[in-house]
Symmetry: C2
Subunit: 201 residues, 2 copies
DNA sequence: AGATGTGTTGACTAGTCGGTCAAATTCCTT
DNA sequence: AAGGAATTTGACCGACTAGTCAACACATCT
């Protein structure tokens, strides 16, 4: 059945993720990605019909990674508040790792890409909206469990509340990227989320 | 003393603000800006030593505009809570206007530019950090007045609280840009900020 | 061994990028 | 009217852009 597949495609996705996450979609060229991945341009277009398609695949790859971690972190076997604590810890750990590796605080890869391409590429905008929906679903389920145990008011609008938490996290990550500084997130994100959740007394 | 200045520079700044705000810095070329402004490229480089310098000047121009409005909105003569209400109203009005004019929800111009260029251009990152400091100063002063009147707890950390509100606004604007939808902001931003402020009882 | 289909190569477009420059134009001052 | 400075012009530059393609390499199947 012909030649066996190498890890060329995966290498391209990983390299592109790093470069685009650190800089931006339009600041990174296909040549840059190929050069850093040690792959010829022809191979690139063997796997991806266009640069935009690669961007979509980097997002899917990121989301698969996130899902793997979040399925554990937001496991219904955990205490709902612990889920948020673990999420914050995961975010901080990931940001520190990326900062060390890429030399800059990078924030949320979806938000950065989405902000840049929102008005430029509809397909990417739609995909990011889907990803946001998935992420807020984790929050919503944790909040629902909190409500069931009476920890938050029974008339809380869970959809609204989960979107608020999501916006807040995205905003703090964006500021961390701009300021190239994780201190505020480290000192504040967990408390601020707990505050936002609105626990009873 | 030679020829009198025209409005060429101003026209370039206004055109660039629109194009960069809607799309992104790297997605818009100097040629695009010149063409839309009806200016020759040579004139562009007569007024700006580089594209990056133009970006800095668009930010300064935006910030001057913001200051003019915020000096009124956050006037110490107003009730502190009204200041936040007016700010939210101003943000929504501005976003609606830009959406109508440019055909897309555009979010915060500083955050969009900052997110894109954070790791690419230090000068712009620093300028945006300065702008954030100015904006949070408005919040902090309003919060201080609230504290003085006993509306919020006396041990609130005002610097932290103002940064939280700022991150939150930035995050919601970013999501609005990505989703190309202002509904959530319209229905939620004001309440969410009041919630974040943490008024007593 | 030879056919078959996957994976790789790198030179090649055609157009765009940010930026330059010498010459021409315009207006103010003297 | 003449000089001089600010402004405008548009052709031009080399580097880079996303994307193409025909030839080639190679593992697996018959």
């Amino acid at each position: 059945m012909g030649r066996a597949p190498n890890n060329t495609k995966q290498k391209l996705i990983e390299t592109a993720t790093e470069l685009i996450w650190r800089d931006s979609y339009n600041a990174v060229s296909v040549d840059d990605i190929c050069k850093k991945a040690g792959v010829q341009k022809g191979s690139f277009y063997h796997y991806f019909p266009s640069k935009a398609h690669l961007a979509l695949e980097t997002m899917d790859s990121c989301m698969r990674d996130t899902k793997e971690h979040y399925d554990d972190i937001f496991s219904p076997t955990r205490d709902p508040l612990e889920r948020f604590k673990l999420m914050v810890a995961y975010i901080i750990e990931q940001q520190k790792e990326i900062q060390k590796e890429l030399g800059h605080v990078c924030g949320c890869p979806f938000a950065t890409l989405g902000s840049e391409l929102a008005a430029q590429d509809d397909a990417i905008g739609i995909r990011i909206t889907e990803i946001c929906a998935k992420k807020t679903a984790y929050y919503q389920s944790a909040l629902r469990d909190l409500m069931a145990s009476g920890a938050i008011s029974a008339d809380t609008d869970l959809e609204v509340k989960s979107k608020e938490i999501f916006s807040f996290v995205v905003g703090q990550l964006l500021m961390a990227r701009i300021n190239n500084d994780l201190d505020f997130i480290e000192n504040n994100l967990e408390n601020a989320i707990f505050n936002l959740i609105g626990l009873k007394t």
